[in-house]
């Protein structure tokens, strides 16, 4: 008797929901094991986690505040990944965007009225991210250089560049009065995204929801979006249709980079108010990949997933101060990773199921757990595009 993966004959709507929910439950179970090993009570930790992030008004708004940049980094990853382009450097594009956005906030902010100053910061940050993504996009489109490695290497370069501007030199971005503890110079007040009352969320949230809708509309209704979908699902078909792969790859990666940069601008205008390496190096870009994958690259699902992961992160911070048991903040990163691993493992069960078969009957004898599907079935993100589009 062996287990065999077979294609489902009928696919019901709840299969697509059960997979991620099951993944979260399984990940929490695995997390519980490690929490117990380290001497924490899993039930207490999970209860406090939920309470900290999703029960009080301040908890919810704090979760949304963390979710705000995650939406944009999630979109940055989704735009590229659904085309089978793996820009994993949104982290670096975010830093480059922060550098660009902070420059606009310092140089243009004092001379512009409030809405325009904010717009200048956001626009400059998108340009910063786009410029940072340019080498990756160009090398990929023309030479076929792996965008995975270039985008990642550029992330480290961006990180060191940002640190250099604040800690290593007396740059334009550095506060000249901070000598012992170098800090970024505060941007003009007009360039800050206004907050809602005393809550930590503000117009940034409105901006990111608008961006999510815009990305969805671009993919759904424009010819550029159509070309991106074709190149993503079937490069062969794109070639027959006369779509220029070079052009579409360039546009996809640059759009992805610009979105990553925009996340940096939103952080600078909405929260950090300066080029602040300590406050920006939070792994928001890398988490964006998690957001995008869990949301199966769908812009609206990204809004939901970002809120969920924002809550998880926010709770991680809150758990550190839990009386009696100080749980390290890293617990939320571990849970994120576990959720993601289970989610991608569960992905296949949306369209396949396991069946016990008697050995020797199937053509795939030999391997313990054989894998089988229709030949030519799109595998990977391209296959998922049709679910999300």
């Amino acid at each position: 008797m062996r287990l065999r993966l077979e294609r489902r004959l009928e696919q019901r709507w709840w299969h697509a929901v059960a997979a991620p929910v099951g993944a979260v439950v399984a990940a929490l179970a695995v997390g519980a094991v490690f929490l117990a090993i380290e001497g924490f009570s899993p039930l207490t930790v999970y209860r406090e986690l939920f309470k900290a992030s999703f029960t009080s008004a301040f908890g919810i708004t704090d979760s949304l505040a963390i979710a705000t940049p995650l939406v944009v980094t999630g979109l940055a990853a989704a735009v590229a990944f659904r085309m089978n382009l793996f820009n994993i450097g949104a982290e670096g594009q975010l830093y480059a965007g922060a550098i660009g956005g902070a420059w606009a906030g310092l140089a243009l902010g004092p001379h512009l009225p409030a809405p325009l100053a904010v717009a200048a910061v956001l626009a400059a940050s998108a340009v910063g991210g786009l410029v940072w993504a340019l080498p990756m996009a160009v090398f990929k489109a023309w030479f076929g250089t792996s965008e995975i490695i270039t985008s990642l290497m550029l992330t480290f370069v961006a990180q060191y560049l940002m640190r250099y501007l604040i800690f290593g030199s007396r740059s334009y971005w550095r506060d000249p009065e901070s000598t012992n503890f170098p800090q970024g110079r505060k941007i003009a007040e007009a360039a800050e995204l206004p907050q809602f009352g005393t809550y930590r969320i503000g117009w940034g949230l409105v901006v990111v929801v608008a961006v999510a809708v815009a990305v969805w509309a671009l993919i759904r209704f424009t010819s550029v979006g159509f070309d991106m979908n074709v190149v993503g699902t079937s490069p062969e078909a794109a070639r027959y249709a006369g779509i220029s792969t070079v052009r579409v790859v360039l546009m996809g990666l640059l759009l992805s980079g610009a979105l990553g940069g925009l996340a940096g601008g939103i952080e600078v205008a909405g929260r950090a108010h300066a080029l602040d390496p300590n406050g920006l190096e939070l792994g928001l870009g890398f988490t964006g990949i998690v957001v995008a994958a869990l949301a199966r690259y769908n812009p609206f699902a990204i809004l939901l997933v970002a809120t969920f992961l924002g809550g998880l992160r926010n709770a991680g911070v809150a758990l550190q101060t839990l009386p009696g048991a100080r749980v390290p903040v890293e617990v939320s990163l571990m849970l994120q990773g576990a959720i993601l691993l289970f989610a991608i493992g569960a992905e296949i069960f949306v369209r396949h199921w396991l069946r016990l078969v008697r050995s020797g009957l199937g053509p795939a004898a030999g391997a313990g757990l054989s894998t089988a599907a229709d030949p030519g079935e799109p595998v990977g993100p391209a296959g998922r595009a049709e679910v999300t589009a």
Binding site: F143, G144, V157, F286, T371, A372
Partner: protein, 311 residues
């Protein structure tokens, strides 16, 4: 060349290159079977944190190295299940592995942050060769893992070129369908080599704490070495001996920073730290381009899940 600081730089470059070489050799094995594993960084961190804890509780160097390596292998097994059996995207799975491994390692490592490690690998001087100028300290006065890494590179070269199993492995990486029709168990070979890759990545992480800096710190321990190892495999065009040479080159570029500071050369540390990453990009663009790739020997089926069709 008689400059003592420069000789010390060369000797340190060799040590700095070893973890990169180990991790990259592991990745090379996985990629030769057609599976890309972007989880190297996560597996290294797990290897490091586990080796540290075993080292402090048992006091045994070799036991810490082995257990750290096995921890990396366990994480790689998750990747194998997800990508070989469940056909998940190798890229998304590998990235999740890094996120999970980083999270788990930092969570578990919280309690040991800042603690010293009781035991570490010491250089073994090959008298009288160790007294030679330059070659003495650089070649004949290193710790056992350095020599083990060199032996391993030779062994993997021999395995790939001269053994039947190595030939099967290469055929699985080039054309799994052909290999399958020849009766080679594609899934089993992929599982084995992905896990072997994880074991080497775990060992690389373990060596970081056992052989280099005997302490654990969340972002200082690997500082992106896993990613450099990934790039190095492409840089070395999937050849073990080139991986070894490349690793020493990367080790050199990482150590240059300290050397120049000691020499009083006023280059900002942040800018020097960018060097290895920029070097990687340049190398990739020159070597890793699409047309060259076929010539330099990328496994043709790299990154593609193998699904035997069933009707």
């Amino acid at each position: 060349m008689n400059d003592a600081a420069f000789v010390a730089l060369l000797a340190a470059s060799v040590v700095a290159g070893v973890p990169i070489a180990l991790a990259a050799l592991g990745e090379l094995l996985a990629e030769r079977s057609g599976v890309l594993n972007l989880g190297v960084e996560g597996m290294m961190l797990i290897g490091a944190v586990v080796a540290f804890q075993v080292g402090n509780s048992s006091g045994s160097l070799w036991l810490s190295l082995v257990v750290g390596a096995l921890a990396g292998g366990a994480l790689a097994l998750v990747h194998a299940v997800l990508t070989v059996t469940l056909r998940a995207s190798q890229i998304v799975s590998g990235l999740s592995l890094t996120i999970f491994g980083t999270g788990l390692a930092t969570f578990v490592g919280k309690s040991i942050e800042g603690l010293p490690l009781a035991t570490d690998f010491r250089p073994v001087a090959w008298e009288p060769l160790a007294d030679l100028p330059v070659a003495g300290p650089v070649v004949f006065d290193q710790d056992p893992i350095v020599y083990l890494t060199v032996v391993l590179s030779v062994a993997i070269t021999w395995y790939l070129r001269r053994t039947r199993a190595g030939l099967s492995l290469r055929s699985v990486g080039e054309s799994p369908a052909t290999a399958d029709s020849m009766g080679i168990a594609v899934a089993r070979l992929r599982y084995l080599h992905v896990v072997a890759g994880g074991v080497l990545a775990g060992a690389a992480g373990a060596y970081l704490v056992l052989g280099q800096v005997p302490a654990w710190s969340q972002d200082g321990t690997t500082s992106g070495l896993g990613w450099i190892a990934l790039a190095l495999v492409v840089f070395a065009s999937w050849e073990p001996m080139r991986v070894l040479l490349g690793a020493f080159l990367f080790g050199f570029s990482r150590q240059l920073n300290f050397y120049l500071q000691a020499k009083g050369v006023d280059v900002p540390a942040e800018l020097l730290s960018m060097l290895p990453y920029l070097l990687t990009i340049v190398v990739l663009v020159v070597w890793g381009s699409r047309d060259l790739r076929r010539r330099v020997g990328a496994p043709a089926a790299l990154g593609l899940p193998y699904v035997r069709d069933e009707r």
